[in-house]
Every structure is written in structure tokens, then in C-alpha cells.
């Protein structure tokens, strides 16, 4: 599959698609003729999607009502893929991942080491912007899951084809380092000149490990020696940063800098423009109705007194003074006004999400040049 590596025009059978139901509900679905995508609003037949261009909106009539339900069928990207994953803090989200990729200048020359693979979400973004990605996962089950996923997504491979550039290895890099050898549990395909060991020559390192300081000493075996190598450690606690700083200094890494990245998302909203004059007029209206009410009550009282001499007895209720309901209602109070209702004036406003991701991890960057001598 090439769903992550090539821009596709039409949705085809067998494609991995991302079906967008809402911002917080995006599902990965493989297209299969005859199958349905079921939602609480009804079933969307895959047949309605296959053959349409990517990005198409698909409509169905909702069950038992005369309304319509819609979904959108999207081609996966690393960012959409991240959004489609169940929300766990293990995921490196786009504000962090995009900064790391930019800051480490990832591109077609980057030979990246990632440890550990975790949910594999960042691996997809690295794969897009690297020559090669060597990712390591120490957890057996997660390793197998990620391996399968990378295969399915068409990004596993030796980079002989565009985008097929990910190698995953089952490894505890803190204990056993980064070298990939024959007989290791790895997706690496050993070439003719790599019979014994993979040539990694990484120039970008990303360590998302609880104890990166244990892995840092092992990096020397696998980093490129003839160019500047960049490193980023991703750690939630400040004490981890401190220990990392110690290890970086000890093992000859320089240009150390630590940052936090904070991403925020804003909702676009509208607030009703309620002017002082309208508010004043509303109060005046209430007041005049009240006065009217008082007048009417007086009148009515008089009438009642007069009439009580006669025979009228049942009609008094009808003439009971009304509570002087206001007629002037510039803000539509009393009934719910839909935001943006054209009857009223609105001001565009932004609102940050009600819960923000205030912290993900500290990012500690460093670099190293192994060979400082001059090339002839």
C-alpha cells in the first residue's frame, strides 16, 4: 500500500482510508466492496466511497428520520493518523513532533534513530521527512503491532522505493544498544555489504525513553562520524532532564538546549453585540409596561368596584392586570438564540479549548561531531 507515501486521486478498493466523523472521531477503515461503515447515525456502504475522489463527503439518510448524515473520506497523513489514535499521553503530538522535525532539520538526508517506537505515530512523520528511519521498541507486543502497522501502511522497507524507508528492531537500547546484527529481531534487510551488521550512520536521534541517559553512551556505535549529528530527548519530568544533561556532557554532546513546546487550539465563536442603548431601551420598555400595568390595575380596580354593584362576576379574570410583558427584546432573551443568527449583530471571538495540553515533555537537544579532522 502506498496510502502514506503517494498522493492518491481516487479511493480504491483495499485503500486504508481515514473516515472523519467529527474532530474527535476519526476512524481508520480499509475499503472493501460490499462492506459497510457503521455509525450511530446509520451505515455508510464502502461502495459509495470506492471510485470517488479522496476528500469526498458521503451522505446517507439517517435511520428512521428524514435527515441526512455525512462523513468525509480522507487519505491518511501522519497528522491525521495521530488524531485517529486513541488519546494517550504516550503519543508525541504534532506541536512537539513538528518542532522536533524542523529543529533537527529532517529531510531527504536525515537518517533517523527513534527509540522507542511506542504508538508508532511519530514514526510516520519521521518516515515522511527522512531518508531512513531506524526505530526501536523494547516491548515485544508493541514491536509486533508496530511492525504489522508499518507493513500495512507501506512505509516499511530499505528506502529503495520512495517512502518505504522504515526499519523496526525489537530492542532494549539502554541495555543492548542500537547496533542491528543478523539474527536480531528486526525488519532490517541485510544487504550484500551488510552481512554482519547494518550500517546505520544516523544523523538524527530521537530518544523517547524513561532513562535516556542509559542509551546515550550506546549512540557512538551507530551515529555518523563525518557530520554533525543532532539528538533530542523527550522526557516528562525535570529530573530526567537533569540526568540527561549530565550524560550529554559526559559523553561529549554539545550545543545543549532544552525547550518546552506548547500547542493551543482555538475555537472560532461569535458573541452577540449588545449595546448600552439597546439595554437602556429594554429597561425603558419594561418601565413603561409596568406603569401601564399600574394604570390598568388602577382602572380595573375602579371598574371592578363599579361593576361589583352589578351582576358581572365571571369576567373579572379576563380583565386581571397582565404582568406587563415586554415587547422590546433586542437581545432575544427568553428563547435560545442560535450563535450567528442573522437577526442580531455578532462579534467574532476566539476561545481556547476548554482543556489544554499544558505539558507533554521537555525536549533536550544536543549535537555532536565525532570526527573533528579535515577532509582532504
Amino acid at each position: 500500500m502506498t496510502c502514506f507515501t503517494e498522493y492518491k486521486d481516487l479511493i480504491q478498493e483495499g485503500d486504508l482510508t481515514l473516515i472523519w466523523i467529527s474532530r474527535n472521531n476519526i476512524r481508520a477503515v480499509v475499503m472493501k466492496a460490499g462492506e459497510n461503515f457503521n455509525t450511530r447515525y446509520g451505515s455508510f456502504p464502502h461502495n459509495d466511497m470506492i471510485g470517488k475522489p479522496y476528500g469526498s463527503q458521503i451522505a446517507i439518510r439517517t435511520k428512521g428520520s428524514n435527515k441526512f448524515a455525512f462523513i468525509h473520506v480522507l487519505q491518511p497523513t501522519p497528522e491525521l493518523w495521530t488524531l485517529s489514535l486513541p488519546h494517550r499521553t504516550q503519543i508525541v503530538y504534532t506541536p512537539d513532533s513538528s518542532y522536533i522535525i524542523e529543529r533537527m532539520n529532517c529531510g531527504p538526508n536525515a537518517r533517523v534513530i527513534e527509540a522507542g517506537t511506542g504508538s508508532g505515530s511519530f514514526s510516520h512523520a519521521f518516515a515522511r521527512s527522512a531518508q531512513k528511519l531506524f526505530t526501536y521498541e523494547f516491548h515485544q507486543v508493541r514491536y509486533e503491532q508496530a511492525l504489522e502497522e508499518f507493513k500495512d501502511h507501506g512505509i516499511l522497507g530499505d528506502a529503495s522505493k520512495y517512502g518505504e524507508n522504515v526499519t523496526i528492531t525489537h530492542r532494549d537500547v539502554c541495555e543492548n544498544g542500537f547496533r542491528i546484527k543478523q539474527n536480531d529481531t528486526t525488519s532490517f534487510e541485510f544487504g550484500e555489504d551488510e552481512e554482519i551488521e547494518a550500517k546505520i550512520n544516523a544523523n538524527v536521534i530521537f530518544l523517547d525513553l524513561p532513562a535516556p541517559w542509559d542509551a546515550i553512551p550506546n549512540l557512538n556505535d551507530v551515529i555518523a562520524s563525518d557530520e554533525k549529528v543532532g539528538l533530542c530527548c523527550f522526557s516528562p519530568c525535570i529530573e530526567q532532564v537533569d540526568k540527561t544533561l549530565e550524560a550529554l556532557e559526559k559523553y561529549g554532546w554539545t550545543d545543549v538546549e532544552m525547550v518546552e513546546v506548547q500547542g493551543k487550539q482555538y475555537e472560532s465563536r461569535r458573541q452577540m453585540v449588545r449595546t448600552l442603548d439597546d439595554a437602556l431601551n429594554r429597561l425603558k420598555d419594561i418601565k413603561s409596561h409596568k406603569l401601564e400595568g399600574v394604570e390598568r390595575r388602577k382602572r380595573l380596580l375602579n371598574e371592578t368596584i363599579n361593576e361589583s354593584c352589578g351582576i358581572d362576576d365571571g369576567s373579572v379574570d379576563d380583565k386581571r392586570p397582565s404582568t406587563g410583558k415586554t415587547k422590546f427584546n433586542p437581545f432575544g432573551k427568553g428563547f435560545r438564540v442560535k450563535e450567528g443568527d442573522k437577526e442580531f449583530k455578532w462579534k467574532d471571538v476566539t476561545k481556547v479549548e476548554s482543556e489544554i495540553k499544558s505539558h507533554t515533555s521537555y525536549l533536550t537537544f544536543a549535537s555532536k561531531i565525532v570526527k573533528k579532522d579535515r577532509l582532504a
Binding site: 503517494e6 498522493y7 472523519w20 474532530r23 475522489p53 479522496y54 476528500g55 469526498s56 463527503q57 458521503i58 451522505a59 439518510r61 468525509h72 487519505q75 497523513t77 497528522e79 504534532t94 513538528s98 518542532y99 524542523e102 529543529r103 532539520n105 529531510g107 531527504p108 538526508n109 515522511r128 521527512s129 517512502g163 563525518d226 557530520e227 554533525k228 532532564v241 537533569d242 544533561l245 556532557e249 561529549g252 554539545t254 545543549v256 538546549e257 532544552m258 525547550v259 518546552e260 513546546v261 506548547q262 500547542g263 493551543k264 487550539q265 482555538y266 472560532s268 467574532d348 471571538v349 476566539t350 521537555y362 533536550t364 555532536k368 561531531i369 570526527k371 573533528k372 579535515r374 577532509l375
Partner: protein, 447 residues
């Protein structure tokens, strides 16, 4: 030698100076480069080392003599490679500026109980004496040692403020510089440092990184772009797509729409992409030609390609003139294709044009499912845009996002965020282009 790994002749690189400022230079072979008060060096002396290497300029007596003859010119020194990892103070040096404030905040410590106004140091050396030393001295460290000797109250200082003093002085008199690859982020930070904030629309590295990711920029895409920064945004795209590799096998293209008669991609002059490379991968069209392109007929009215035989028969100047016109003609046809036929893999925009009128029209030729990412210095302009896009079924889930990077001081035992940092950095609006379902047919009564 690989110009992406090593310092090679002819390259543009960015130098980090002891003052923590940057300087972009072209490495003309056999030339020399002056860093002002930090000295000068010969380009040839730094070629072949890895990009990222730190050098120190030093002068021996021989240098000094030869240079005495030309007093106005900065004497050219020799360079030696510095191993930053063995000189831990170097790490701190580069951050000293931002720490200064900070360290002051510790001054209310017990140990400086008897000092008031430590800022006013008693400096017994005159500037002349220092200049003298600078000419004679082998390294900045020696100057500093001499200054300490002559510093009246140095030993009255607390160890903390001594350290601080040393750092400040080290920075001032060190002749070290680092030769770095001129990445798009490095170019951005150079422009910001220089105060060109308006020119780069107040962008930050993190906003650009997020823009590139959200727009799913790949080596094999064709992107529609408006770049109000004079080429910086295009450089970010080029670097992400090709990584500076001018022999790339990738076919990605950037179609740049410009609002003036001529495109302004001036900043690409700092890049190391040759002109042909840029011609192949960056196409420019004015908004007028993009939105109101000439028809193929109109183009053909002005020029008709001749048959091979006819061309063969042409001679010298006439033939050259024909080929020039043919090239223009083909360029025009290509432009019409970009304006009318291409379905783009993404739209990235950084412009001060009003967005609600612009983005919907620019999005017409963006392929379904592809990202639209719009950068703006101001959230308010994106807010207006987002309401416009909400009401248009061709746009899925417009979101305004902000990303901010907060750097720390990383001296162990004194960890904390930097006390001050640049405000700004801009905002992004991102969404996906989608294709609305056709109006559903009215419900049919079931027979």
C-alpha cells in the same frame, strides 16, 4: 565532499559569533572573511571540516607583523578547531546574554550581603590597554586573565558573580566562531535577530515546523503557495522537500502565486540551490495570470511553433531568437496548466492580503483531502477567515492553532525557563479541502 555535511567552497554558510550574533557569508575560495572585532580568517583554512565545527582565530607574531603594514584592514589570523565538548564553559557562553538578567536575580543572596551595586565594576584597564592586549594576545582567555588581575574588586565578588563576570568577559573577547549549515530555520533566526520581523511576518521556527507538517509537505508533491516573506516560506518548503540536495531524484514542485507584477523570492539568494534547480522546482505566477490566465489561443496568437525543418533552416541570431521565444511560449503554456489544470497537493499561504476573499479562491484547485494551511501574524485575521470557511462545505474543520517554544537555561543546578524571550510567532489556520456531497434527492414516497 558533501556540501550538506562539510564546509565547501562557494557555499553560503551561517556563522555563529562570540557575541551570539549570526552572520551569513559566502565562502569564496582563496578569500578571507572578517568578523570585525572577533578577527578575520582565510576561507581555505576552514574548508573540508564538518559543518557545525567551531574554530578559534589566533594570531602569532608573524601574522601580526605582516598585518602592521595595512593598519586599516582587520589582520587575517589562523584558525584552529575547538572541541566544544572538552570545554564545558563554551556551552554556557552561548547563553550568557540571556542569563545576565537572570543571574542578577540571584544577587540578593546571603553571600553578597556586603556588596551594593555589583554592576559597577572597578575596571582598572583602559580600553586602549585591552585593545593592545587583543593585538598581542594569543587567545581571549589570556586577555581575561589580565583583566582579572587588574580588576579592583574581583576578589570581593561572590563566587557566583565572579563566574558571571568571567563568562561575560570570555564571551566578549573570545575569537571563536561556528560554521553552520544555512538551514531555513537558521535563515529565519538570522532575519529575526537582525530585526526583520515585519519582513518575515513575525514567524517562528515552531510555527513553520507545524505548517510544514500540517500541510503534509513531501518530496513528491505539487504545492500551491503564496509567500509574503520574500522567499523564506519557499525556502522552508524546498528544504523539507529536497534537504539541500541539488541532485535530487524527487519531482516535487512549488507553484508560487505573487501579488505584484514580479515575484519576490529574494531570500533564496542565500540558499545553496542553483538557479536551474529553482527554475525546475519553483514556478511563479502572478495572481492576475493565475486567476485570469490567457487562453491557449491567445498565447498561440502571439507565437506559433515552427516545424523541425523550418527551425533547421533558420540561422544564427534568428534561430536563437526563435528559441528564446519558444521557451517563453512553453513557459506561458505551462503557466496556463498550473492555473487551470493542476490539482494541488496542498495550499500554504503567508500573505498580508485579506484572507476571506483569497483562500476560498486559491482553494479551488486544491485536490480533495489535501491540507490548506494559512500562516498569519495575527490571530484576528485567521478568525475572520475561519468563519468564512465554516460556512463553505469545501473546507473540513478549520482550526486555528498556535505553537510556542519556550527555551530553558540548562546550567545544572540552575534550571529554569529563560527570563525573557521573543513574543509573537504567529498563528496557523489549517483545514482539509473536501468535496461536498451532491444535494441529496428529495425523499421518494415508498410505493
Amino acid at each position: 565532499m558533501d556540501p550538506l555535511k562539510h564546509i565547501v567552497a562557494g557555499q553560503h554558510v551561517i556563522l555563529k559569533l562570540p557575541s551570539n550574533n549570526s552572520k551569513i557569508v559566502e565562502l569564496k575560495p582563496d578569500g578571507s572573511i572578517s568578523l570585525g572585532k572577533f578577527g578575520s580568517f582565510n576561507v581555505n583554512d576552514i574548508l573540508g571540516y564538518a559543518l557545525g565545527t567551531t574554530f578559534e582565530i589566533y594570531y602569532n607574531e608573524e601574522n601580526q607583523e605582516t598585518n602592521q603594514t595595512n593598519k586599516n584592514k582587520n589582520p587575517v589570523g589562523q584558525v584552529r578547531v575547538i572541541d566544544n565538548s572538552k570545554d564545558t564553559s563554551a556551552n554556557e557562553e552561548s547563553r550568557a546574554t540571556s542569563e545576565e538578567n537572570d543571574l542578577n536575580s540571584m544577587d540578593s543572596s546571603l553571600s553578597n550581603k556586603n556588596l551594593i551595586n555589583v554592576g559597577n565594576e572597578i575596571q582598572k584597564m583602559t580600553m586602549d590597554e585591552i585593545e593592545q592586549l587583543k593585538k598581542q594576545s594569543v587567545s581571549g582567555n589570556e586577555i581575561i586573565a589580565k583583566m582579572i588581575e587588574s580588576h579592583g574588586s574581583f576578589h570581593q565578588k561572590t563566587s557566583h558573580s565572579q563566574e558571571k563576570y568571567l563568562k561575560r568577559k570570555k564571551q566578549k573577547f573570545s575569537k571563536r566562531f561556528t560554521v553552520n549549515y544555512l538551514s531555513s530555520s537558521a535563515l529565519l533566526s538570522f532575519l529575526l535577530e537582525k530585526g526583520d520581523i515585519q519582513r518575515v511576518m513575525d514567524m517562528s521556527e515552531e510555527s513553520m515546523g507545524m505548517l510544514l507538517n500540517l500541510a503534509n509537505i513531501r518530496s513528491n508533491g505539487t504545492y500551491l503557495c503564496m509567500d509574503g516573506t520574500g522567499g523564506l516560506l519557499v525556502y522552508f518548503l524546498l528544504e523539507r522537500m529536497f534537504g539541500g540536495d541539488i541532485k535530487t531524484k524527487f519531482t516535487g514542485k512549488i507553484v508560487v502565486i505573487h501579488e505584484n507584477e514580479h515575484p519576490n523570492l529574494d531570500l533564496l539568494k542565500f540558499s545553496n540551490y542553483p538557479e536551474e534547480f529553482i527554475r525546475d522546482h519553483v514556478k511563479t505566477i502572478s495572481i492576475l495570470d493565475y486567476f485570469e490566465p490567457p487562453t491557449v489561443e491567445e498565447i498561440q496568437q502571439g507565437f506559433t511553433p515552427l516545424s523541425k525543418e523550418e527551425v533547421h533552416e533558420m540561422k544564427g541570431n534568428r534561430r536563437n531568437a526563435y528559441f528564446r521565444r519558444l521557451k517563453l511560449y512553453k513557459g506561458q503554456l505551462e503557466m496556463v496548466d498550473y492555473a487551470t489544470k493542476v490539482q494541488y497537493d496542498g495550499l500554504v499561504v503567508a500573505t498580508t492580503l485579506s484572507l476571506p476573499s483569497l483562500i476560498p479562491r486559491l482553494s479551488e484547485h486544491v485536490h480533495g483531502s489535501r491540507p490548506i494551511v494559512c500562516y498569519s501574524q495575527f490571530k484576528e485575521t485567521l478568525l475572520e477567515l475561519s468563519h468564512t470557511l465554516y460556512d463553505d462545505l469545501r473546507f473540513l474543520a478549520p482550526s486555528i492553532v498556535e505553537t510556542r517554544c519556550r527555551p530553558y537555561q540548562t546550567i545544572r543546578g540552575k534550571l529554569h525557563p529563560l527570563m525573557t524571550m521573543r513574543g509573537g510567532g504567529g498563528y496557523l489556520l489549517s483545514c482539509n479541502r473536501v468535496i461536498p456531497a451532491p444535494e441529496p434527492e428529495p425523499v421518494q414516497a415508498k410505493g
